[in-house]
Symmetry: C2
Subunit: 361 residues, 2 copies
């Protein structure tokens, strides 16, 4: 695995991000000698597919491995799942020197990271991200958490991993729609921060990318680098980190309105288009930029139109934890590669009517 | 209220500790203008006794107050209680700008602080400590958490309050045994760090203290100061903070063995005597020091003998999260006012036989 980044979170130790197909090599490089017991946490799918491979590697490093899994899917991302994992770890006698290894996609990493954040008041953890979406998004930033009936990620903590491994071999086993989910977030990073990266995506999509759907390591590295940089500048999301929410205000509402029938990445793709249309309506973004965004998403097989009428999504805007002050806040791009602040703010309050107009048919 | 300390935790904002009988004045001084909604969390007792007074004061500061309480006692210090509080806060629409006000003793502060630590990934909280035990111990240090069937404080987080109010008027309403619980921890602070403070306790106990059981503000301030200093030097308990565990290795086992029939402070009093006897047996502590400790505790009406045979406490030593490596670790004083490190370590591994010998009849 290649060391593509070193992340320096505020108030927490620096950690490496390794990327490549050889997980055994990556684990050996990232593993710390003091980690003698590990809770290997995944969902039933990820632990079934990759668990034994990881466990065997760890055992060769003289590590005692406790494998723990839960049912896949957003419905498992709860305080109950966290509690069951904690209880199993306590019963097995894991102590504050144990390490959590989160193995899977974003849901697994969010839950595993949150378990580590509060076990014995915080123990070390590392992430092995096996989906493109998790690789370009959830794996760095330190956000962990679970959902409640009131909304997503409402209970959680900031807790940074000690190493992140992006397993590109695992991508070969992902269904095309899962790859597309990751591509949506990857493209988001380009839109908010890096026009050259956006152009690379366009070129790659036109030259085989639309068929393989697996971006080269350099593109993955660039996306993670953007996420890491934005997060480093504003770890607690007081300001600039909000630009990462481009496409997400609308995306989250769509996920809720469809009861997650439309998965996160696809909902974000639609969300980006609607929020870009809002930016266009406000004279903030050019029509050309919107057209390029829609064209790239379409070429990669991502949706650009909402799967449900506005009326079914509308109630969910006010429930978003970012909108609890009564406004709907969107991070609106000013051009491909930039979300310029307006009066120092990186999100713009928009009205329900504006959103309705941008929703389209 | 008097500002007795300013605490500077690593990686978190500085915060004041106010001490005195005028809670209204203290709240007005500590309150921040951005705090517009508060979850006032106590147990049924503390909220019944002081809740309306605090809520009225906050409403006068234009704060919307959500009062939440749970059944008093260690049995409530669970993930379930935390979840119920979180759900009530979410249903009431509290967002990341809300503040948690923990009102009560150590259990309330530990739970309320943990709720604040993971609500929307961490919101502000302040503590109003109404018991002497909480005032000299749980109110500062940043440790929050809950118990599981496997042991105490196994799930939790480090999360520092934005202000701590020590309400000395509340002490007038505490039963004598509750005051004694606090005195045990207060005396512990003197034993581990401040010989002059220990002498002040002796003088105070001989001159009315044994009757009133309410130490003067200066003594409370000195105890909190010791706790704050030790914690500041070693926030994550990698080294010197372990001296705060004097009396607690044995104390926790006694609490478990008696199913909490012997409360925390009294168990710590017994624990200090047994651990001091261990220190004596190792030639580390003088007999005179042990005698002074036993005499002071006795004069204040605190127990100095275990309430149960060694055999019933023994199984709990290995379950303590500090002993999960198979050893039993005790912080043993080298004299009144000091726990000197041995080979750089602030705790000493002791054997079951040594503990058995020190248990006494």
């Amino acid at each position: 695995m290649r060391r593509i980044l070193e992340i320096h979170p505020r108030g927490a130790p620096a950690y490496p991000v390794l990327c490549g197909p050889d997980l055994v090599e990556g684990l050996r490089e990232a593993w710390q000698p003091g980690w003698k017991k590990a809770a290997l946490i995944g969902d039933d799918n990820t632990l079934g597919m990759f668990g034994e491979h990881v466990a065997t590697t760890l055992r060769e490093l003289d590590v005692e491995v406790l494998k723990l899994s839960f049912a896949p899917g957003e419905a498992s991302k709860t305080r109950g799942t966290k509690q069951a994992l904690e209880d199993a770890m306590l019963r097995a006698g894991l102590d504050r020197h144990a390490v959590v290894v989160g193995l899977g996609g974003g849901i697994v990493l969010d839950v595993a990271g949150f378990v580590a954040a509060t076990f014995m008041r915080g123990i070390d953890h590392i992430f092995i991200a096996t989906t493109l979406l998790a690789q370009v998004d959830a794996s760095v930033g330190g956000k962990t958490g679970v959902n409640t009936v009131e909304g997503k990620n409402l209970i959680g903590a900031f807790h940074h991993p000690r190493a992140v491994l992006l397993d590109t071999a695992a991508l070969a086993q992902l269904p095309p729609d899962e790859l597309r989910n990751g591509l949506a977030e990857a493209i988001k990073h380009a839109v908010i921060e890096d026009a050259a990266l956006f152009a690379s995506f366009e070129a790659w999509a036109a030259n085989g990318g639309a068929a393989s759907l697996r971006p080269p390591v350099d593109v993955i590295a660039a996306c993670v680098g953007i996420k890491a940089q934005v997060v480093a500048d504003d770890p607690r999301e007081h300001g600039r980190r909000k630009i990462l929410n481009f496409g997400h205000t609308v995306g989250h509402a769509i996920e809720h309105a469809t009861s997650h029938a439309m998965p996160h990445g696809q909902a974000v793709a639609v969300g980006m288009v609607i929020e870009a249309r809002l930016a266009l309506a406000r004279g903030r973004l050019s029509e050309e930029a919107l057209v390029r965004l829609v064209a790239l998403l379409t070429r990669l097989g991502l949706p650009t139109r909402p799967p449900c009428p506005f009326a079914s999504a509308a109630p969910y805007f006010s429930r978003d934890k970012k909108n609890r002050d009564g406004n709907i806040h969107c991070a609106l791009p000013s051009r491909i590669g930039e979300i310029a602040p307006v009066d120092g703010a990186f999100t713009t309050p928009v009205t329900v009517d504006e959103l309705h107009d941008a929703w389209g048919s």
